[in-house]
Each structure stands twice: as structure tokens, then as C-alpha cells.
């Protein structure tokens, strides 16, 4: 099924335009990397605080308010540029198992962020100023950082696997 989709996508107008113009793919990749820089750094600000590693002088609530909107905006840019990259080279991504793993990891981290955001809102204030966040918060922070790191790793390895 995926091969048919790839076959069809490859012959669409937008796909041929992207792949025939030499500068489009590197240019879109640059925007993609810039967006991952914003996503990763924003999440690191929150996750390192959740994990109890850094930023203890700031409340989790203030960090979440400051950095989550930036993170979501950057994720939208990531999705749009990612889709353009897939359209430009459908077989490079869609027929690649590393790309599949990357998408699963992405889904996992976005769900984790949505769920933990809800949970954290409910708790904020009661333990927010505590120097050492509870185990649950630390697990979420570390897991989120690991997931984003793995997503970047997988993203780079798409180029090296088939």
C-alpha cells in the first residue's frame, strides 16, 4: 500500500517541482532544523526543571507558560516543513523504517506533553516551588528529553538507512 502511495506522490506536480528545483530541499531542511532547535531548547527549559536538574528559581507554571506556546508553534513549522520534505522525496521517508520509528516517537512525545500539561496544571502551586519535584514530574521531564533526543537522532539517520 505504501509503495502505491509513494508511486502516486512521486508523480504529483508538487513533488516534481520540489525535487526538480535543487535549492528547495536544502532550504526547507534549514527551516526544519531551525524549528527543531526552537522545539528542543524550549522543551529542555521545561524538562530540565521538571527533572529537577536546572532552573529551580523559576516556577514550573511560569516556564510552561513561557515555553510551551513557542514549542507548539515550532512543532507546526516542523510538521509543515516535514510534509514538504516527504513530498519532495516520498521514497526517502515513507519507505524508510527509521522514519516510521521517528513518527512513533513524535506521536509519543506530543501525547506525553499534552497529558502532562493537563496534569501539571492541576497540581501547580502545591509543589511547584518545591526544590525537588515529585517522582512523576521527574519521570515526565526525563522521558520527554529522551524522546526529543531520539527524534533528532532518528531524523538524522533517515539519510543513512533505507
Amino acid at each position: 500500500m505504501m509503495t502505491h502511495l509513494v508511486e502516486w506522490l512521486t508523480h504529483t506536480r508538487i513533488s516534481t517541482t520540489i525535487s526538480d528545483t535543487a535549492w528547495i530541499i536544502p532550504a526547507v531542511q534549514c527551516v526544519h532544523i531551525l524549528a527543531i532547535a526552537f522545539t528542543f531548547t524550549s522543551m529542555a527549559m521545561l524538562d530540565l526543571r521538571l527533572a529537577g536538574v536546572a532552573g529551580r528559581q523559576h516556577s514550573i507554571e511560569s516556564l510552561a507558560k513561557r515555553f510551551l506556546p513557542t514549542m507548539w508553534l515550532a512543532v507546526i513549522v516542523l510538521l509543515v516543513t516535514g510534509i514538504l520534505l516527504i513530498l519532495g522525496e516520498p521514497n526517502r521517508a515513507l519507505l524508510n523504517w527509521v522514519f516510521g520509528v521517528k513518527m512513533l516517537l513524535l506521536l509519543a512525545v506530543l501525547l506525553l506533553t499534552l497529558v502532562s500539561d493537563r496534569v501539571l496544571r492541576g497540581y501547580s502551586g502545591t509543589w511547584d516551588r518545591a526544590t525537588r519535584p515529585p517522582v512523576g514530574a521527574r519521570v515526565v521531564g526525563i522521558l520527554s528529553l529522551l524522546l526529543w533526543t531520539s527524534i533528532i537522532v532518528a531524523g538524522r539517520w533517515i539519510a543513512y538507512s533505507g
Binding site: 534549514c30 532547535a37 526552537f38 528542543f40 531548547t41 539519510a159
Partner: protein, 161 residues
């Protein structure tokens, strides 16, 4: 003379190990990407504050003290991994126009940072809390942002030339 050095560099055992191994180059490159996302992201936080776009309630001195140590750590990783990647095919990379542009932009970013540190940064205690930064700081922040994005873009382009 410099050409001899690059020739020698890529023939050293570590450089040859990287270029002859199937997994070493992509692994080092992945570390390079992870490090550079943190360099750009964290520098952008300070730069966006300097150009009055974000984090305007934060004291610039305090923000820099909190963020820049992470930037430097990430930069050291990016520089070391970058050097390893470069060494693996030094003569090829030194002739790559995108790589040459990247070096120039890195040097300009360093000059911009040094100039800022030796001038306006000295009086940061007097203007750091003000939501609106002085013009010089805005210029330094804007230049830094443009130069670092340029470093990333030219870096990505190396592989396409």
C-alpha cells in the same frame, strides 16, 4: 603549507577511522546536530531578548548567566564533533564554498560577541532590567541571530555541494 596540513590531517589514523567506518561519521554528525540545536536555540533566547522580541520581563544579565553556560557546553560539543567530521575529509571540505562561508560567519559571530562583551556588556547592570534594550545591544542581538542562522544554513549546505 596549510594545504599540506589538511592533507596530513585527513591521513591521521583517527581521521581515516572516521572516513572508513560506515557508522562513525553519521554518529558524530548526529551529535553535532544535537549540539547545534542547543547552541542556536539557547543563543536565540538571549538574542531575542536583546532585540526586544521575547522574555522582556527578564533581566538580561540574569538570563545570560542562566542560559549561556549551556550554550558554551553545547558549543564545545559542536566544535569537537565538527572538527572530527572536517578531519575525515579535510581537503575536500576546505575547498567547499559552503564550508568557507560557514567559517567566515563563525568568525564574524565571534567578533560580534567579543565586541558586545567588551562594550555594552560592561554596563549590563544599568540597562539589563529595562524591557527596552539600548540600540547597541539590539544590533548585537540581531547580528548574532542572523550570523548563527547563517552558520546553520551554510553548514547544512555543505552536504549539497
Amino acid at each position: 603549507m596549510l594545504a599540506d596540513f589538511f592533507k596530513w590531517l585527513e591521513q591521521t589514523t583517527p581521521a581515516r577511522t572516521i572516513s572508513e567506518s560506515g557508522w562513525l561519521f553519521p554518529t558524530i554528525e548526529t551529535l553535532h546536530v544535537l549540539a547545534l540545536t542547543l547552541v542556536i536555540g539557547s543563543i536565540a533566547m538571549v538574542d531575542l531578548r536583546l532585540i526586544n522580541v521575547a522574555l522582556r520581563k527578564r533581566d538580561v544579565a540574569e538570563l545570560s548567566d542562566e542560559v549561556l553556560p549551556w550554550t558554551w557546553c553545547a558549543f564545545v560539543v559542536a566544535a569537537l564533533t565538527g572538527f572530527c567530521l572536517f578531519a575525515s575529509a579535510a581537503t575536500k571540505y576546505v575547498a567547499n564554498v559552503a564550508m568557507q562561508i560557514k567559517f567566515v560567519l563563525l568568525m564574524l559571530a565571534a567578533i560580534n560577541m567579543l565586541t558586545f562583551n567588551l562594550t555594552l556588556h560592561r554596563s549590563i547592570k544599568t540597562w539589563g532590567r529595562d524591557p527596552k534594550t539600548p540600540l547597541g545591544a539590539q544590533i548585537a542581538g540581531g547580528l548574532s541571530l542572523i550570523l548563527w542562522i547563517g552558520v546553520m544554513v551554510s553548514g547544512r549546505w555543505i552536504g549539497f555541494l
